[in-house]
């Protein structure tokens, strides 16, 4: 349609302003907060870890590890899992419709090593803190939970240290 300020085709052709995207997500997050709870990713990932562990090791072996009976009992009906699966689905649809879906592999061994260390630290960090970055910025802190301020202090300090390591690597 000529003269229309924004069309569906344009949505998949142009990059959306992140301020608009995040404002829309924030309003949706308020609805989710009223229905079940604020946006979070780490909890769902932990439950998926438990479910994968059950697939690999068997239910009984996993149940013998106290964490998986006292903190997180693997449960496929845990709502937070579906936020992550939804993000995967939504991103896939967005990438296909905007012709941005293609397989990308890290080229250098050093990149694989950094991603491996980074992934491990994220996993350990989330479980140690009970929260991830999403719960920190989009859940705890807007609820004015004390944990939000503790988490923000931690993540800023961590991002600073990580950035300095990254800078050293970039400079060779």
């Amino acid at each position: 349609m000529k003269g229309a300020p924004f069309t569906a085709m344009e949505f998949f052709r142009k990059t959306l302003d992140p301020v608009i995207a995040l404002a829309a997500i924030a309003f949706l997050d308020i609805f989710l907060f009223l229905l079940v709870g604020a946006w979070t990713v780490g909890g769902g990932e932990t439950m998926m870890t438990g479910l994968f562990a059950e697939l690999v090791m068997g239910k009984e072996a996993v149940a013998r590890i106290p964490f998986w009976s006292l903190v997180f009992k693997p449960d496929i009906a845990y709502w937070k899992i579906y936020i992550s699966l939804g993000m995967l689905f939504g991103a896939f649809v967005g990438a296909v419709l905007s012709k941005e879906f293609y397989l990308r592999l890290p080229r250098r061994l050093s990149e694989w090593v950094l991603i491996t260390i980074g992934g491990l630290l994220m996993g350990i960090g989330i479980r140690l803190a009970f929260v991830c970055n999403v719960s920190t910025f989009f859940g705890l802190t807007p609820e004015m939970n004390l944990g939000g301020y503790l988490s923000i202090s931690g993540i800023i300090a961590g991002a600073w240290v990580g950035s300095m390591i990254y800078k050293k690597i970039l400079e060779g």
């Binding site: 479980r127 705890l140 939970n145 931690g154």
Partner: protein, 225 residues
């Protein structure tokens, strides 16, 4: 919401829209912090702050009336330590919890690899926790400070309202103002950066023009001679 299926469905619909919007906007939480620290660029930081302002007002308004489902667990030193490790990890991996899922959806194998090792890290931590039982599990949380376990208890806008008799939204408004002040400071910094860039570009243009004019002057002098 009472039904588990309903909860999962609502979560999936929410996640799908988030995935689509993040993919189309290229928002990245890692970049919001890393780019501000390393490159002094704030595209993602501003978006993060705007979302936090909307959420603070929204959540605290509903908490004032006892509505909503806030996160409920004791907090303490483990939040600082955990997110510190997470912060290093996300910069090294080049992705946070959101972008690992979104980039995997775009076909990025590195992001899938990061996700896999996030799961492995969580499983390793579950083994460690099963030895020392720290931080305390939700069953043993009391909501009160427990200094021997390095826990400060539970508090949010709703508990502040209970304690001081001031509506939660008032505290929310104060936090929103603080976030807005940070947002404005960033915008001001960007304006100054933009002015510097424009001045530098103008200087480059002027230098180029002067260089181009030089041979012409030389020719003129030759003609006069």
């Amino acid at each position: 919401m009472d039904s588990a299926i309903g909860e999962c469905l609502a979560a999936f619909v929410f996640g799908s829209v988030v995935g689509l919007l993040v993919q189309r906007s290229r928002f990245c939480n890692t970049a919001a912090l890393r780019d501000a620290i390393l490159f002094k660029t704030y595209r993602n930081t501003k978006a993060l702050l705007v979302a936090m302002m909307i959420l603070t007002l929204g959540f605290t308004t509903f908490l004032t009336f006892g509505e909503g489902n806030p996160m409920h667990f004791d907090v303490g030193l483990n939040q600082i330590m955990g997110l510190f490790l997470f912060g290093i990890g996300m910069v090294l991996a080049g992705a946070c919890t959101v972008s690992t899922w979104v980039k995997t959806g775009e076909g990025n194998v590195g992001a899938l690899w990061a996700l896999l090792f996030t799961f492995i890290g969580m499983f390793l931590f579950s083994l460690l926790w099963s030895v020392n039982y720290w931080p305390p599990a939700s069953l043993s949380m009391t909501g009160e400070p427990n200094l021997s376990a390095l826990q400060l208890g539970y508090s949010n806008a709703a508990t502040l309202q209970e304690k001081f008799g001031i509506p939660a939204v008032v505290f929310g408004a104060v936090q929103t103002l603080v976030l807005f002040a940070i947002y404005r400071a960033i915008r001001r910094k960007e304006t100054i950066q933009h002015q510097h860039h424009e001045e530098a570009a103008a200087r480059r243009e002027a230098a180029k023009a002067a260089k181009a004019a030089k041979p012409a002057n030389t020719d003129a002098r030759t003609e006069q001679a």
